[in-house]
Amino acid sequence: MPKIEVNTERCKGCERCNDACPQQIIGMSDQLNNKGYKYAVVFDRPRCIGCRICAIICPDVAIEVYVEGTQYELFQY
């Protein structure tokens, strides 16, 4: 099952990933990180398809993507 990991201290809370995720499973935290930003959180992890889109559009390299088993390459990047 794919998953993403958000580096909460790198995240600047721009919400780009929220909009970009085709599964619409990313939202923002209630807490603030040390820089004072809300950070991205996945609220429905099992639905992640590991498409990498959130990571690709993140301006702050705050997202890493992992898969277990088979990875479907939906597009070349």
Partner: protein, 255 residues
């Protein structure tokens, strides 16, 4: 678990100073990924002239120059002509490249310098506080066009990719945008291709990247993406403008 997306070795592992949602960060990562994937990092020298990206020398994990306003293509020329084995890229803003550095970019392109120019067009001078740039959209409010850009007074925005593409010297010239995932993926493909041409010693390469400046546009990152798509993309058409493959030797000679 297998990691299928992480930062690249060509980027230093440190937070950037860019504003939230500013697509400078995405362009940095794409440039770094391209360098890394093509195996060029250890012979790449980047050049960051003044602008919001002047501190890019802190972020790219390769040898880096900082340069004066607009002159990066000249610095790159000096470096590349002296050490043709190096891979040279410049990372320039629109005030930098399309205003003060107009002479340097046109002549580097026309000499066919084997360098890669990453031109970040965000329609304003970002670093100095959102003043009007040559690329500012008609009617756009900036700190020095408080009534909106008046094209009767200051002319229309310059389309750099098209201008550079008119030169006879072979080159690879394209315009990409970072406002959505699809265009971002396309941008990666184009930028990587530009570096590949340089690595093969093919030609001058130029990629104009439409980029957001939420801070100086006075918009949220989400609104900024929408503004870019609706206002900038129609005026600045995306796509490849010139390819080295299309070059045909012209038969004009003086001797």
């Amino acid at each position: 678990m297998k990691k299928i997306f992480a930062s690249t070795e060509a980027l230093v592992d440190r937070p950037t100073h860019y504003c939230p949602g500013c697509t400078h960060g995405v362009i940095h990562r794409i440039v770094a990924e391209s360098i890394e994937e093509l195996g060029l990092r250890e012979r790449t020298v980047g050049i960051a002239p003044v602008g919001c990206a002047v501190l890019a020398y802190e972020y790219f994990n390769c040898d880096m120059f900082e340069a004066s306003h607009g002159r990066a293509p000249a610095v790159a020329t000096g470096a590349k002509r002296s050490r043709p084995d190096l891979i040279l890229f410049t990372y320039q803003g629109d005030g930098d490249l399309a205003s003060i550095g107009m002479g340097e970019i046109i002549h580097a392109a026309n000499r066919g310098e084997k360098i890669t120019v990453i031109f970040v067009n965000n329609a304003v001078y970002g670093m100095t506080g959102g003043q009007m740039a040559p690329t500012t959209m008609p009617g756009q409010y900036t700190t020095t066009s408080p009534y909106g850009r008046d094209v009767k007074d200051v002319g229309y925005p310059v389309r750099m990719a098209e201008i550079v593409a008119t030169l006879t010297t072979p080159g690879f010239v394209a315009r990409v945008s970072l406002h959505n995932p699809k265009e971002t993926i396309r941008a990666k493909e184009i930028i990587k291709r530009a570096f590949a041409y340089q690595a093969a010693g093919t030609c001058f390469t130029f990629v104009e990247c439409l980029s957001t400046c939420p801070t100086n546009w006075g918009l949220s990152p989400r609104e900024a993406e929408k503004w870019l798509e609706e206002k900038m993309v129609p005026y600045y058409p995306l796509g490849v403008k010139k390819r080295p493959e299309d070059f045909q030797e012209e038969q004009h000679g003086a001797s």
